[in-house]
Amino acid sequence: MAMLEVKDINVYYGLIHALRDVSFEVNEGEVVALIGANGAGKTTTLHTITGLLPSRGGTVTFEGKDITKTPGHAIVRLGMSHVPEGRRVFAGLTVRENLKLGAYTRPKSEWEASLREVYTRFPRLEERKNQPAGTLSGGEQQMLAMGRALMAKPRILLLDEPSMGLSPLFVGEVFKIIQEVSAAGTTVLLVEQNAKKALSIADRAYVLETGRVSKSGRAADLLNDDAIKKAYLGE
């Protein structure tokens, strides 16, 4: 059975039918990419999974448990962390406070150890731990958002456009970290506009087109698919 199973979800923004019968699954240990153009429904899909948006019909199952109706704040306790689009770090709070909030649902006694792990992975965050998060560069804020999500010790990490707006150097760094996180045993669901990068590190991928899954398969196959190349890889 898949670790995360999304089945026939439908989401509306007022009268706009944003997601139509979207179904996909993520198996334990995989890196699955969700690619597609702007407005295809990638972010909406993630928001529906983590309870920020309600779905009309359809189910989301995580580790065998139906979480379709689980309120957003209860999701992280189940072992699912979501790094939102645009990072959304708490700008007025310090880097350290941001990270601690990531571990909000875990016992306080475990915070220090997790902080040390995150600082080891992101040394830059330790250098800036007492700075307000709003003063970090975009790339550093992305590191912080990922570090904050890892503080919850998730079994699955949902990443929404982690490379958006970053310099090529940071993009490379972000993808390297995703691979490391995956190698350390965390399952990853990655939403990306940078299809080439996403497909190059993913095991499998789904293509979203105007609210529907239009294609899916092994990432390596999709990288060589002519239609995908033309539409998303700019070749």
Partner: protein
């Protein structure tokens, strides 16, 4: 020496404004709404203490405790029943609802306690302390008011800055969606904020009525508006700002009354607010966090 006496009464009145403003500013900071019923919660606190000490003959501390308990529950109930259903509504709808709740509380008080003013007995007894051979008179209630204000401010700064719940509150104030992703229950946090703000309003109500002992259903309205002004003056959303704004407003008001004109004192207070906002639109201690995108 009369200058010092005026300064002392200004700081005392300002401390009451500051306690009310702290409630205003916390609710604004977290729920992003102006709770115009906040002033009337003060009045309810005053009546609760009055009923407990006069009708039931309870000691002052029990009256204060009852006022705090009732106002805390009242604040949470108002949030749950009147504001929570409007969480996604335009802010204008929430604002009008808050004004409606304000009138509801005033008229409920009118119905229960009538329109004739009640004479409140100060919860702080004792003779005024004479300083400098009687040139400065310091009422015990003044001391208690100023001390309470300082203690409350310090406690709130420590609470929001250094506790898990306080950090969660600041996170909710910045970004409710992201806070939810951290596992923070946004509804509980907002409810908690109303509880704290309304509990403070009860304290302010008791202190206000102890210093100015006429208690009427409209008692809380004007101090409520003044405290809102103080919160904006200091920078709405900022806890030290509410404190500074409250004290300054009280001092300006008393000085205006003493040296310029009793009738014009309120006009002068609001004129100063307008000038401050023209020069510094975020208020005295209001901060803009620079954000990189």
């Amino acid at each position: 020496m009369s200058f010092l006496n005026h300064l002392i009464s200004g700081i005392s009145l300002g401390s009451i404004y500051a306690i009310i403003a702290l409630g205003y500013t916390m609710v604004y900071g977290i729920a992003k709404m102006l709770n115009f019923a906040h002033g009337d919660v003060i009045m309810v606190g005053g009546y609760m203490c009055f009923c407990a000490t006069i009708y039931l003959g309870w000691p002052a501390w029990a009256g204060i405790a009852l006022a705090i308990a009732v106002c805390t529950v009242l604040g949470m109930a108002i949030e749950r029943l009147a504001y929570k259903p409007l969480r996604m509504a335009p802010s204008l709808a929430v604002l009008i609802t808050a004004i409606g709740v304000s009138y509801l509380l005033q008229n409920a008080a009118l119905l229960i306690w009538g329109s004739s003013p009640k004479m409140f007995t100060s919860v702080v007894g004792g003779q005024p302390i004479a300083l400098f051979g009687g040139q400065i008179m310091l009422a015990p209630v003044t001391l208690v008011t100023v001390l309470s204000c300082l203690v409350i401010m310090a406690a709130l700064v420590l609470f929001t800055g250094h506790t898990k719940m306080g950090t969660a509150m600041r996170a909710v104030s910045e970004d409710k969606g992201a806070a939810q992703l951290m596992g923070i229950n946004v509804n509980t946090t907002i409810s908690m904020t109303f509880a704290i703000g309304s509990g403070l309003a009860a304290v302010a109500g008791v202190l206000l009525c102890s210093a100015y002992p006429t208690l009427m259903p409209t008692t809380g309205a004007m101090p409520g508006i003044k405290a809102f002004t103080a919160a904006v003056f200091g920078g709405i959303g900022s806890i030290p700002g509410a404190f500074v704004g409250g004290i300054l407003l009280g001092v300006i008001e008393i000085f205006a009354k003493a040296y310029i004109s009793t009738q014009l004192s309120d006009a002068i207070v609001f004129a100063v607010l307008i000038v401050v906002l023209l020069v510094k639109p975020d208020g005295l201690l209001g901060k803009r966090v620079s954000e990189k995108v």
